[in-house]
Amino acid sequence: MNWQGELNKYLASAYKNWLISRRNVFTLFELFFWPMISLLSIGLLTRFLKVDSSMVSFLLVGAIALTILQVAQIDVAYVLLFDMWSKSIKNTFIAPINSYHLVFGAMLFGILRGSVVFFILAMVSRYLFGFNFQDGGLLPLLIFLAGVFSTAAVIGITVCISILTFGQKADVAAWSLSGMILLISGIYYPVEVLPQLLQTLARAIPLTYFLEYYRSVFIPGPHNLAIGVFLAVFYLVLGLILLDGAIERARRTGILLRLSE
């Protein structure tokens, strides 16, 4: 097969997610309503608490990171969730594709949607709360966004693995995993305030390092970006291997058929 055919296998998931999203009015809630609620509530809290500008940047970076993480991770999870909800998973897995075709295609669309949300939230945070993301420079911003999107991909892959392992009920994982991230990876507070066990867990999440890195641009402080990059790549590769294993297992156990019934 030539490269265009191979490329289209990747783009297929992005194409499907785009078509389904554009016909779903609730996409507007995912893209605008909840992100705005999240940003405005945190931004207004900073005013009420009369925190200084460095603390505003700390909290808004966290709020925006969590929001685009949620948008992008659900796009990766949607690649199987849409198939599961429409009971068409059989048709996807009869095609000659690999797990990475599905994940990267969906991730592409997730990055697109996440970037739109980021752009809107960055504008709002600039004009309403005086925090300008451009002040940190373009390269740190791109590194930060890459970290958020790669963490989102890992969460999305984990949801897909859960669906293929535990069946329909596992779609709840799609909504709860980002809650775990909110709790332990230093979205609204430094991980140092967490109990030791949770700190250890936080240190295993790439987003923790990308948040520390990007915040250090505005509030000088230590960071360990290299570990974050290593973890992100490691989890992505591991996630794809485990997803392949989950697909193989689903073919063995027959769960692929049950998800289509």
Binding site: M1, Q4, G5, E6, L7, N8, K9, L11, A12, Y15, K16, L19, I20, R23, N24, F82, D83, S86, K87, S88, K90, N91, T92, F93, I94, A95, P96, I97, N98, H101, R251, R252, T253, G254, L256, L257, S260
Partner: protein, 310 residues
């Protein structure tokens, strides 16, 4: 290419439950399918047809046994095999909010089609399956018959060498069923592909299949051409006589070649192995009665099915 499309030996499949329970749905299935034939899998509900077709199409893997699809090991080369096969299932499902054209484009992309080849293939399939006027209709708004046609169109996107049709006419109105069968026949004739078709409709199997395997409780209980199956099971032909008056049934039973007699008031059903040898002698035994109607019927697959499903 000379490999047999399917060579299966000793296929077993067990589904395991969460609490250690298990159910074996296929036992020691062995069969070979010839290039270009339509092979039917028949059996009552729960006999294992869908599981077997899912194994052949690499959607699920068997527990035991060896399986070669198009000359490749089904377990080791399942991704390679999937380039050359496709499936259309009963009660087909596709992403609900995608239109006919979008669904075909999406699945075409999964098969690596691109550019003008993708557009052309999608158009060709919509033409072939008379879906053109419904191209912009969402899947959720299609009738059952149109959904089935879309499923068949999707199954032909990659021009498969081996096509699996899992109960393709289940739930369709009779006229749509007939149309779908004609469509399957046409695809097979035009493209000379090998087809494995599961069904529990006897006329469908009789009309379409070159050979048939009967499944019962996960085992193949008979496998042959429809004609040979009927002959080998010794089902005989049926003479049904409606009459007035009296008939010596004991004398009828004593006639050579008479296999069984079913008597109901003024109606007799006589099962006989060769009608032409005994018809005149049977008619003579009705001399004291008045024959109102007499019909002779060859056994059909329905009879084979009832015999084997017992």
């Amino acid at each position: 290419m000379t490999e047999k499309p399917i060579k299966a030996a000793g296929i077993c499949k067990t589904y395991k439950g969460f609490l250690g329970s298990s159910a074996t749905v296929l036992h020691d299935i062995s069969l070979e399918i010839e290039e270009g034939e339509i092979f039917g899998l028949l059996g009552p509900n729960g006999s294992g047809k869908t599981t077997l077709i899912s194994i052949f199409s690499t959607l699920i893997f068997p527990e035991r046994g060896s399986l070669s699809i198009l000359g490749m090991d089904a377990r080791r080369h399942n991704k390679e095999i999937r380039k050359f096969i496709n499936i259309s299932t009963a009660k087909p499902n596709f992403p609900w909010s995608l239109t006919v054209r979008e669904n075909l484009r999406y699945y075409g992309m999964l098969y690596g089609l691109h550019g003008s080849a993708l557009s052309r293939t999608v158009e060709d399939q919509m033409d072939a399956f008379e879906l053109g006027e419904f191209r912009d209709m969402k899947f959720e708004n299609l009738s059952t018959g149109l959904k089935q046609r879309l499923s068949l169109a999707k199954a032909m996107l990659n021009q498969p060498r081996l096509l699996f049709l899992d109960e393709p006419t289940t739930g369709l109105d009779p006229d749509i069923s007939i149309k779908t069968r004609m469509l399957i026949k046409r695809i097979h004739q035009e493209q000379n592909i090998s087809v494995v078709l599961s069904t529990h409709y006897m006329p469908e199997a009789e009309m379409l299949c070159d050979r048939i395997a009967f499944l019962r409780k996960g085992r193949i209980v008979a496998m042959d051409t429809p004609r040979n199956l009927k002959r080998h099971l010794g089902l005989g032909e049926r003479i049904v006589v409606t009459y007035e008056g009296s008939v010596d049934i004991a004398a009828l039973q004593g006639l050579p070649g008479v296999l069984a007699i079913k008597s109901e008031r003024d109606r007799l059903e006589i099962v006989i192995d060769r009608v032409e040898d005994s018809l005149d002698r049977i008619v003579k035994l009705f001399c004291a009665a008045r024959i109102l109607n007499i019909t002779v019927r060859e056994p059909d697959l329905e009879d084979v099915f009832l015999e084997l499903a017992r």
